[in-house]
């Protein structure tokens, strides 16, 4: 058998990278939804909604992502067994679920902070103009708050991309898993892990560029700053 060179690694790593990209996209999207739900929920007037949001945020920010991932993958089926439901999740579901729940909890604090940072006068003006609470939220608060959320969201998206590497530990064939497989096969650790680090770095740069674009898009309505 011929010796494999780094060029031969690329197709295999490419397959893994594609899985990583998909995981990142889906979990960032679901995470964003959860972030808005819990972040606004924490500011809700209804005490039950508020309590639920706070509990969710504290539990998922307060424990380690890997603990959450293992719990969903290894422990949840046992809960299902006890109550007679099949809760055995396929790795991809458990992975996306854990990543979204985790990043969503961090994002919720960002959403809450940005919405709270909208000045009181804005709410008073909306009230004076007879806006309903719903209109105030969607027409007044969020358009001003969302551009403020973008820089921290960029950081969280990068964090999420990096965190996807952990799903290889529940046997998902992402970039990290492919790297491990190649290393087992070729023992060429230096080349493989250098390539993989560069690939993650490249993906992070693309993601940051995308988030910058998104940031200028959601802030388009604002007069040019500085």
């Amino acid at each position: 058998m011929d010796e494999m060179t780094w060029l031969d690694y690329l197709p295999v790593l490419g397959q893994g990278a594609w899985v990583t990209v998909q995981l990142t996209v889906w979990s960032t999207l679901f995470g964003a939804l959860l972030a808005f739900a819990a972040g606004l929920g924490k500011l809700a007037r209804n005490a039950a909604v508020r309590g639920l949001s706070v509990a969710y945020i504290e539990i998922f920010r307060g424990t380690s992502l890997l603990v959450q991932l293992f719990w969903l993958y290894f422990a949840l089926p046992l809960v299902g067994q006890a109550i007679g439901i099949n809760l055995r999740l396929p790795p991809v579901t458990a992975g996306i679920l854990a990543l979204s729940l985790n990043i969503g909890a961090y994002g919720a604090e960002v959403v809450r902070g940005a919405v709270q940072a909208v000045t009181r006068q804005q709410y008073e003006a909306a009230r004076a103009l007879n806006f309903t609470p719903r209109q105030t939220l969607f027409r007044i608060a969020l358009p001003q708050a969302i551009p403020e959320m973008m820089p921290p969201f960029d950081n969280l998206a990068i964090q999420n991309l990096k965190d996807t590497a952990l799903v290889s530990l529940i046997s998902l064939a992402d970039l990290a898993m492919r790297a491990e497989q190649l290393r087992n096969y070729t023992q060429d650790s230096t080349t493989i892990y250098t390539l993989v680090l560069l690939m993650y770095f490249g993906m992070a740069l693309v993601l940051t560029a995308f988030m910058r674009g998104l940031s200028s898009m959601v802030g388009r309505w604002r007069p040019a700053q500085r």
């Binding site: 424990t63 719990w71 990068i158 990096k162 996807t164 530990l169 993989v196 680090l197 993650y200």
Partner: protein
């Protein structure tokens, strides 16, 4: 049996009680890795921050590149890199040390930003006043800037200390017997993952809530006008 402690699988509660001492052993390793990783990150972060602030671009640009790279690549891969690649260059470290170094490297990039932000947050008027009083730049830095930067830096560092603690479970992949790895082994052997993994979650929650409270107290206790280094 693990670390000489037997477990009692009569029911979930007896299992929980019997494995608590085992998990505590793991927790102790987790805390050690956290502290060592944090110490490494503090030192490397300071070096990175100094290099990034260097007047010459020949120094500051590569430093910025390295910092970005460390921040944008997964801890898991950095850890594997150190674990498998260093031995090829004749550097053989125990798994625990490799893990601590990986944590330190990843977080040095974050902490370098904390140092930078803390120093830049000192108002310009302070620099101007020091200049007006004819203080040498070195003295200005050590006696004026640093004492005022510390109250801004310390709380942010506390938050990263908590983050490091939450990243320690990643070290389980290179066989470090921290808390999650211990729980996983108990699960593998008793076929009950629910109890040990839930306990680890609960213990983490307690630790981070206590730590967050500590950081908040520290933040309030630190005088905002600055801490003299004497």
């Amino acid at each position: 049996m693990l670390f000489g402690f037997e477990w009692d699988t009569t029911n979930g509660w007896t299992l929980a009680v019997s494995i608590l001492p085992i998990l505590m052993r793991g927790l102790w390793v987790t805390l050690q890795a956290t502290v060592l990783g944090f110490a490494i990150a503090m030192v490397l972060g300071l070096v990175l921050a100094a290099l990034k602030a260097a007047p010459s671009r020949l120094v500051s640009w590569p430093a910025r590149g390295v910092s970005e790279f460390l921040r944008d690549t997964p801890l898991l891969i950095q850890l594997f890199f150190l674990y498998y690649v260093l031995p090829e260059f004749g550097i053989i470290l125990p798994a625990f040390l490799t893990g601590a170094v990986a944590l330190g490297l990843q977080y040095s990039a974050y902490l370098s930003e904390v140092y930078r932000a803390g120093i830049e947050a000192v108002p310009r008027g302070q620099h101007e006043a020091a200049r007006a009083l004819n203080l040498a730049p070195r003295r200005t830095f050590s006696r004026i800037v640093v004492p005022q930067a510390i109250p801004r830096i310390v709380p942010a560092m506390g938050n990263y200390l908590v983050s490091i603690m939450k990243d320690v479970p990643v070290l389980s992949v290179v066989t470090v017997l921290e808390m999650l790895n211990v729980a996983k082994i108990i699960g593998d052997r008793t076929f009950n993952y629910l109890v040990p993994l839930s306990m680890v979650g609960g213990l983490y929650l307690i630790l981070t809530l206590v730590a967050a409270q500590g950081v908040r107290r520290l933040d309030r206790a630190l005088p905002k006008t600055g801490i003299p280094l004497k």
